[in-house]
Symmetry: C2
Subunit: 239 residues, 2 copies
DNA sequence: TTTAGTCATTTATCATATAAATATGAATAG
DNA sequence: CTATTCATATTTATATGATAAATGACTAAA
């Protein structure tokens, strides 16, 4: 195993999780037996089993006597688990995955903005404003635009003061990272996008839920439309 | 442990998970040490550790040498995990939790209907229709209304053909169950509600995304408004 | 051909031992 | 008296080896 010799089980969880999301082990495939995994990673069966149990808890695999350890159907995967999302990021996301992310974002973010306009505390507003300032600073090269952009989206989710929306911070972050990868990680966030964010913030601050919702909806829908068109194009090329 | 002597670790996971969601162990609290848990449940430390690892994977606890096993902040809980949702159901949900569920449902379900109208396959439509038929049958006492109702909502999610929406089936099911508990589990789904469902289905079938979205939105918003009013009432009583 | 039973393989659990991490409090230095 | 260092005890982390239970595959009998 790695150098550190700490949290071996956790490391194996990540190795196997990555391999599953990258398709090294596909749905229905059997993983090596506990004994073999132990040999492969040079750890005891105890640690191996703990790793297997953690992946089971995240819904990626099942393990039964005689049948061995198998990757279960992807509908059972805990797609909103932090680790799983990060492993998705390490895979090779395609346009369809990007669309799936955007479709859920379109559902979530306008409503989150709506709720933020209703329930945001002073501290929540400060967080959002902070992210906006960092986005503006980024145009002067003082900060990473994309990172500040992600912070903006996450802080709006938090401002909803709804634990379920807040839990989806990781989902949104992953969605944005994949989006960035597909557009071009070098291209900074545009002025137009920044202005759209400012609009959303203003509506939240002024406690105008519907206006906040609409502003968020417009930008989301625009992004999704672009990807939808790209997919149509892609599919027409195929045939 | 129980009679069966199979999957001891899994049983302990459920016991502890329930206790955490019911507040027996609160956020920040320490659980008994591995050794003590082993004694309490009459299982080996190995099995205990595997249970602890599974709960760790679900984001409920952390376990570090000398520090012991502690319930982590609820923002780290995997609220969309099937098990966690079921444990929530075993707790004592209040109006605020119900509102949080409804707020996310309001975000998800109209968009799911929108997507279903775009992407539903024939088989998906059959599933939805099937649930509707069962709802109608239920008025004659042949079936459980609520169960068929849950099936309807879940089948619309599936029809979106978006894995993220599909993953949220358990969330919606839990939300509906809590909703049923709050209204009155004896009261059957009304004819009006049934008709609203039929409308949504028709729009999906006719591939009218926006109409499907609007229909779903109306019913959702109505439900949320009622709960919001109840909360306002509750809070005015307090002061 | 079917059925019942045997067998081999793999996970599930247990018991015990040692290593590593770390909170706590004592000892020490300033 | 305060801050820092250090020893120690407690708890988790890992390893090892042994036994139990589950189950797919094969075999033999009806």
């Amino acid at each position: 195993m790695e150098s550190t010799h700490r949290n071996l089980a956790q490391q194996v969880v990540h190795e196997l999780g990555k391999k599953i999301m990258q398709g090294t082990y596909k749905v229905g495939d059997s993983l090596p037996s506990e004994a073999d995994l132990g040999i492969e990673f040079n750890i005891s069966r105890t640690a191996t089993r703990e790793a297997v149990k953690m992946l089971t808890a995240k819904g990626l695999i099942s393990s039964r006597p005689r049948q061995g350890i198998k990757v279960v159907a992807s509908k059972n995967w805990n797609l909103f688990d932090v680790d799983v999302l990060n492993w998705i990021l390490l895979g090779k996301p395609d346009l369809y995955l990007l669309r799936h992310f955007l479709q859920l974002r379109l559902a979530l973010e306008p409503e989150a903005a709506f709720l933020a306009a209703q329930f945001a505390e002073e501290s929540d507003l400060k967080e959002i404003e902070n992210a906006l300032i960092r986005m503006k600073d980024a145009t002067n090269g003082q900060d990473d635009t994309h990172e500040a952009d992600i912070d903006f989206h996450q802080s709006v989710l938090c401002a909803s003061n709804n634990p379920f929306f807040i839990q989806l911070k990781n989902f949104i972050a992953t969605a944005l990272k994949i989006n960035i990868r597909f557009t071009n990680r070098m291209i900074a966030v545009t002025v137009a996008e920044y202005q759209a964010h400012v609009d959303i913030f203003e509506h939240i601050k002024n406690k105008e839920p519907q206006a906040a919702f609409d502003s968020a909806m417009v930008t989301q829908k625009a992004t999704l439309d672009i990807v939808n068109k790209q997919i149509v194009e892609l599919e027409s090329k195929k045939t």
